[in-house]
Symmetry: C2
Subunit: 330 residues, 2 copies
């Protein structure tokens, strides 16, 4: 099933069921007003939502309207918890080689993960408002999972049973601010502004065999200003999402509606390109001695979309522009 | 004014106004059902809450009941964003000396801050459930502020006008897990389990002259297993809360209900003791060559309370025990 959130001026929007082909949508306020409510009561609500979804796919829901991805928010417009991994090891290796960094110990055995800000996500077509190009504006193409409540101390196998929905993310990153924050050991605050999400969240069965080993086995197609930038494959994720969840739940329960990201999709095969500018710059530094691709400028556009193996739509597309944000305090 | 949240089995509880002396409380569902709703509509609701609060203090509210701090949750039981600073420089200096760490660059000019998990806070008398003593269970006594919406790019002066409520926190920390997470540069996930909060959140005017320079100029009294552990003074905070808010808002707006903590209260004067075990251990290592105080054991109790200068109650007390958590997955 596919779910989205209609923008209605409120912080949490209104829950929509969206047809598999992303052509139609219908509000489901009688079942759950928002995605947060749906994920908190998933076991009770799933069957009713599934039944309505199947009727929508058969075009038998009278109230259905055309689905417009420019009218939606992030599927979960704000999350009580947003955790993001960095689980594509080719990405870390490239960054280390390019910047002569010490390798981070144990990344093959223990996932890298930071606690992110989930209070204010962007929709798939929202402008990315930022104060300065000097901060090194970059995108990061990722996949993520939304879980229901995960008990403290879950095994990875048990954790996998709490994955309810899959999402596609642009984890907007400010590269000039990250090194100072990493050196403190305290992680990212200023370097990670609001993340953006593709129009619909999908249940794992929508991926068919492309969802296995708790990984999204599909390429993520990234275009910057209309030009191909990369199509790295999600199957190369070093840890599965079930292992990321168990890592996060070692010392606390995760409340229903916790989102966990994969980190930038990246492959060892250089021909597939990259899902962030920073990685392409690292490749250029290694191969040519200097970075040639600049970070984003105000007005630049970024598009990210993962489709099913047969080319049919899956999450819909992230299609955003970066613009200079004016502070209301200025 | 003083606000608390009655535990009713729901995730967000029910908002209470509490009398200044913490003897009486009354539900205010007609004004705001929860503290999150109140903070999102503060400007509209403040006058009505203040009027009811004054009547409660005069004992003129018929529906008032006795206030029982064992029946409340954290004032904000879950936060869309929880950011925690480390703004008492004597604490960092002691840790660096004891562990021979490199000083973190620029801590006098740029606040240390990590993004914490706000999805599942503990109430003032809730047990702290953790899986293992081997994780190095510690408390951290802190102050925090709750803000309404803060625009991106605020100056510190402007940021200060968004402080609506002050809170007292136990930022539960797992010391054996922190060094690995700090070395990754990604910050704390496993090393910071759920934080706990004193019974009531208070408006800054409740502190009188003890709230100035956006700092809490009061000692925080800490007792471990009924014995004095420390009473360091909040006025020694190197940055004011207004500066912490502006730091966090550099590249994004902060949504209403964002909580920002001070970090462990700590003073250069050793005679005042400490607000966390880790710091006392560092002092012992420097003075005596080895740490003598152990981290917490299951069954240990921790009490933290900051009172007004005249000894009257302010936030109420955090009074918790650490117990072994049994995983529902086990």
């Amino acid at each position: 099933m596919k779910l989205a959130t209609l923008a209605d001026g409120s912080r949490d929007g209104r829950l929509l069921l969206v047809s598999r082909d992303l052509s139609r949508a219908v509000e489901v306020a009688d079942l759950a007003p928002t995605l947060q409510v749906a994920i908190e009561h998933w076991q009770r609500l799933e069957a009713g939502l599934q039944e309505r979804y199947e009727a929508l796919n058969r075009d038998e829901v009278r109230e259905a309207m055309a689905f417009d991805p420019t009218k939606v928010m992030a599927p979960l417009p704000r999350a009580w918890q947003w955790l993001d991994g960095s689980c594509f090891l080719s990405h870390s290796e490239l960054m280390q080689r390019a910047f002569n960094l010490e390798p981070i110990e144990g990344v093959e055995h223990t996932p890298l993960m930071y606690q992110g800000a989930g209070d204010d996500f962007l929709g798939p077509c929202d402008d990315i408002l930022l104060p300065s190009e000097a901060h090194g504006i970059d995108f990061e193409g990722e996949f993520a999972v939304l879980v229901d409540e995960v008990p403290m101390g879950c095994t990875a196998e048990q954790a996998g049973t709490h994955i309810r929905l899959l999402l596609q993310v642009n984890d907007v990153s400010l590269r000039a601010l990250a090194p100072r924050e990493m050196r403190t050991g305290f992680g990212f605050v200023q370097a990670k502004s609001s993340s953006s999400f593709a129009p619909v969240a999908v249940t794992p069965d929508e991926l068919g065999s492309a969802w296995r080993d708790a990984r999204v086995h599909l390429p993520l197609n990234v275009h910057l200003n209309g030009e191909w930038f990369g199509h790295p494959h999600g199957g190369a994720m070093h840890f599965g999402f079930h292992e990321l969840i168990a890592h996060a739940a070692l010392t606390r329960r995760l409340s229903a509606g916790t989102l966990i990201g994969s980190g930038t999709v990246s492959n060892h095969d250089r021909s597939v390109g990259s899902a962030c500018i920073s990685e392409r710059r690292a490749i250029e530094m290694i191969a040519q001695g200097a970075a040639r691709t600049s970070f984003m400028h105000f007005g630049d556009s970024i598009r990210m979309e993962a489709r099913c193996a047969d080319g049919s739509p899956l999450f819909g597309a992230i299609a955003q522009r970066v613009r200079q944000g004016r502070s209301a305090c200025a």
